[in-house]
């Protein structure tokens, strides 16, 4: 049950949990064995956080696109797709942060390059622009409810369309910057492109369709009502026995 009471503890535990994990990592890194583990993790992140950022971004885009479908998906599936869209975005943003931090720490980029799209190679500059666009899209995505209240919902849509630009730039950045991409990584990029292409096509098709479509609702509610009625009748005899017990004493 979603109640305000059940939400608060989650938020309350977030900060202490974060501090505990950070402290654990720092203490772990101080021991020789821990230092090895931390170095390994750092290497791993150095290799893959950029890849994961892009994969997360792609999943987010596909899920976001799929969520707009009215042809195949039912309402609950669209809600799930939206939830996936948000979760993938969050993961992608987290990896983006780690990607940028690690690139700075390993001296592959400097702070100026992160803030401005200038520098040694244009491949890195593309990544910078893509990251900035991603951040704009994510932040306005969080503030979506405000756009719904305001008078310019189209502004939100325009800003959200920037994600396509961000994504294409991110893919080019991924292929050109850094190490030579292994074959499977290149393949996964291709799968990404194909996925978003298909999803875009689906979106284009659906918006052409006239609104409304098949009405599931009356049928659904009727079947629900029938179920409720059946349940009522089934429990009627049980209720008579229960009636003795339900008297609420105040």
């Amino acid at each position: 049950m979603d109640t305000p009471q059940s939400e608060k503890p989650g938020v309350r535990w977030l900060v202490p949990a974060g501090i505990a994990v950070t402290a654990g990592v720092l203490i772990g890194a101080a021991t020789p064995a821990g230092a090895v583990v931390v170095t390994e993790i750092q290497h791993f992140m150095d290799f893959y956080s950029g890849v994961f950022t892009l994969v997360g971004l792609t999943v987010s885009m596909v899920a976001g696109l799929v969520a707009t479908d009215r042809m195949i998906l039912k309402i609950q599936h669209r809600i799930l797709a939206q939830a996936l869209h948000r979760a993938a975005t969050l993961i992608s943003m987290a990896f983006l942060v780690s990607h940028v931090v690690i690139e700075i720490l390993t001296r592959n980029a400097d702070v100026v390059q992160v803030l401005l799209p200038i520098g040694r190679t244009s491949a890195i500059a593309l990544g910078t622009v893509a990251a900035h666009l991603m951040i704009i899209v994510a932040l306005t995505g969080v503030a979506r409810a405000r756009f719904a209240t305001g008078r310019r919902p189209w502004l939100w849509r325009a800003l959200h369309w920037l994600s396509y630009a961000a994504w294409i730039l991110a893919i080019i950045h991924g292929l050109l910057a850094g190490r030579q991409a292994p074959v499977w990584v290149t393949w996964s990029y291709l799968v990404c492109v194909a996925g978003v292409g298909v999803a875009l096509l689906a979106r284009g098709l659906v918006t052409v369709r006239p609104r409304g479509g098949e009405e599931e609702l009356p049928e659904e509610s009727r079947s629900k009502a029938a179920k409720r009625k059946a349940a009522r009748e089934a429990s009627r005899s049980a209720q008579q026995a229960a009636n003795e017990r339900i008297k609420v004493s105040r």
């Binding site: 049950m1 979603d2 109640t3 305000p4 009471q5 939400e7 969520a67 707009t68 009215r70 309402i75 609950q76 669209r78 809600i79 939206q82 979506r144 409810a145 756009f147 719904a148 209240t149 919902p153 939100w156 609104r211 409304g212 479509g213 009405e215 609702l217 009356p218 009522r232 429990s235 009627r236 209720q239 229960a242 009636n243 017990r245 339900i246 008297k247 609420v248 004493s249 105040r250």
Partner: protein
């Protein structure tokens, strides 16, 4: 008859007062005055107390009318083994009820006497008084406890319609969320901190004190043969009146300076409506009111004055009751908004009473407490009693009378938000109806119908999700306080 005092609502009586004895002379009966008025405290043993309660058939006065002697017996079985707690339930969650408030404010020692008598008989060492909200009642009972140097624990509760249910009170005393528990456990066996607990309403304890000081025979000197004694009623949400059981309701209304008006609601918002003709003659007793189609409940009597639209008033109260649900049980969470929808349709002429009957057939006992039952009974009796008004609504789409809000409701807090649709943007995606089925349904074309009530707290997070997930950015949450909205 005493006028309105500094201490609160007007208090009056038909025939000789018992619980309200001395109220015409004193605003508050402190210990000395209390002893002067009611005499010395007499503490009978359990067997004697049970015999007396049995003889006069003393019932719980919080609404359920559970036989007090049976309750004593159930708790008394644990006397040798358990550490028994005695709880005075003063969580008067129903708007329109003031009797417990008046007792605590003006005769706190009578209530304490009752609790002490019960505690003594059960050899209990802990008395707990659960009071809703701060105010004169809390101050008065606190002062009374200090006067007698009693080891009584005071628990402050948040005031809500359902928080007066016994299970909810026990949970509140235990420091849990004050909602009725899903699994019924007998408070008598497993109450406060898992101990056997005698929990009853404030008036019940006051009646117990009077019974013990008068003795069963004298106590039964007034009232009917099956229901002896007096009863406290709250009339019109403003006047508390003590009357012998069996008095015609018309006499009580007259004493309070009012009439039956368009109809009288008896038993509060879980009770039933009576037509003016029936209300004038019906005797104020459990049997009499039940036979007439109402209930005595917690003694709430609400005559509906002329000049307001009865159907509108009923809809207003039903919306409130739907929002007061704890949202725990499906039949209540989804069923009560259905009743509101059906009543709305009735009011604007688009639906008939059949719709209300269908929506209100929630089925008895299908909830952790009697909230769905009681609310359905309230709506059903209203469409019977106000049949004429319904016909006018059905034919003309309204009766032309304004809804004046004569029936009492608690003050609505500032954070009461509403969902609003921008119809130019809405594209009938239907996600909102899936996320908040309590408030939003879809019409035949797949567009949302938003129930025009406030958003109950347990729906709020889902309402926010619906706003965030609307593909057309057409849904928004409006709050009276714009700054509160900005913060979110």
């Amino acid at each position: 008859m005493t006028g309105p005092t500094l201490m609160g609502p007007m208090v009056t009586h038909v025939d000789a007062p018992r619980l309200t004895l001395g109220f015409d002379r004193f605003e508050r009966l402190d210990l000395d005055r209390h002893r002067a008025v009611h005499g010395r405290l007499y503490e009978p043993r359990l067997s004697k107390l049970m015999a007396m309660a049995d003889q006069v058939d003393l019932r719980g006065r919080g609404g359920a009318a559970f036989p007090f002697a049976r309750k004593l017996r159930a708790v008394g079985r644990h006397m040798t083994t358990g550490d028994i707690a005695v709880v005075v339930n003063a969580a008067e969650g129903e708007p329109g009820s003031l009797k417990d408030h008046v007792l605590l404010t003006r005769a706190p020692h009578l209530v304490l006497d009752g609790a002490v008598i019960a505690a003594h008989a059960l050899e209990s060492r802990e008395i707990i008084i659960a009071v809703a909200g701060k105010g004169p009642a809390l101050r008065s009972i606190r002062a009374a406890i200090a006067e007698r140097k009693l080891p009584v624990r005071l628990v402050e509760l948040t005031e809500r319609f359902i928080s007066g249910e016994s299970g909810a009170v026990v949970r509140a005393v235990n420091g849990e969320t004050p909602v009725p528990p899903g699994v019924k456990v007998r408070t008598a066996d497993f109450g406060v901190d898992g101990r056997p607990t005698l929990l009853s309403n404030t008036e019940t304890f006051a009646q117990l004190a009077v019974l013990s000081s008068l003795g069963a025979d004298l106590y039964a000197g007034v009232g009917t043969s099956t229901e002896p004694g007096t009863v406290l009623l709250t009339v019109g949400g403003s006047t508390v009146v003590e009357t012998p059981i069996g008095t015609p309701l018309g006499t009580v209304l007259e004493r309070c300076g009012t009439t039956a008006g368009q109809g009288v609601l008896v038993g509060g918002y879980h009770g039933g409506w009576l037509t003016p003709a029936v209300a004038t003659h019906v005797p104020v007793s459990r049997a009499g009111l039940t036979a007439a189609g109402g209930t005595l409940g917690a003694g709430i009597v609400l005559p509906l004055s002329p000049g307001t639209c009865p159907l509108g008033e009923v809809t207003r109260i039903t919306s409130y009751l739907a929002a007061e649900s704890a949202g725990q049980c499906g039949p209540c969470r989804l069923g009560l908004p259905d009743v509101v929808r059906a009543l709305n349709a009735l009011a604007d002429g688009s639906g008939g009473p059949e719709g209300v009957r269908r929506a209100a057939s929630i089925g008895r006992g299908r909830g952790a407490c009697s909230h769905p039952d009681g609310t359905a009974r309230f709506a059903l009796s209203a469409i019977e009693v106000f049949e004429q008004d319904l016909t006018v609504h059905e034919v003309r789409g309204g009766c032309g009378l304004p809804v004046r809000g004569f029936l009492p409701l608690p003050m609505i807090e500032g954070g009461d938000g509403r969902l609003a649709v921008d119809w130019t943007r809405c594209d009938g995606h239907g996600l909102c109806a899936h996320l908040v089925p309590e408030i939003i349904r879809l019409d035949r074309n797949g567009y949302p119908i938003v129930l025009n009530t406030g958003i109950p707290p347990w729906v709020e997070s889902n309402a926010r999700r619906a706003v965030a997930m609307c593909p057309a950015l057409a849904l928004r949450l409006t709050t009276p306080d714009v700054r509160a909205e900005r913060r979110n």
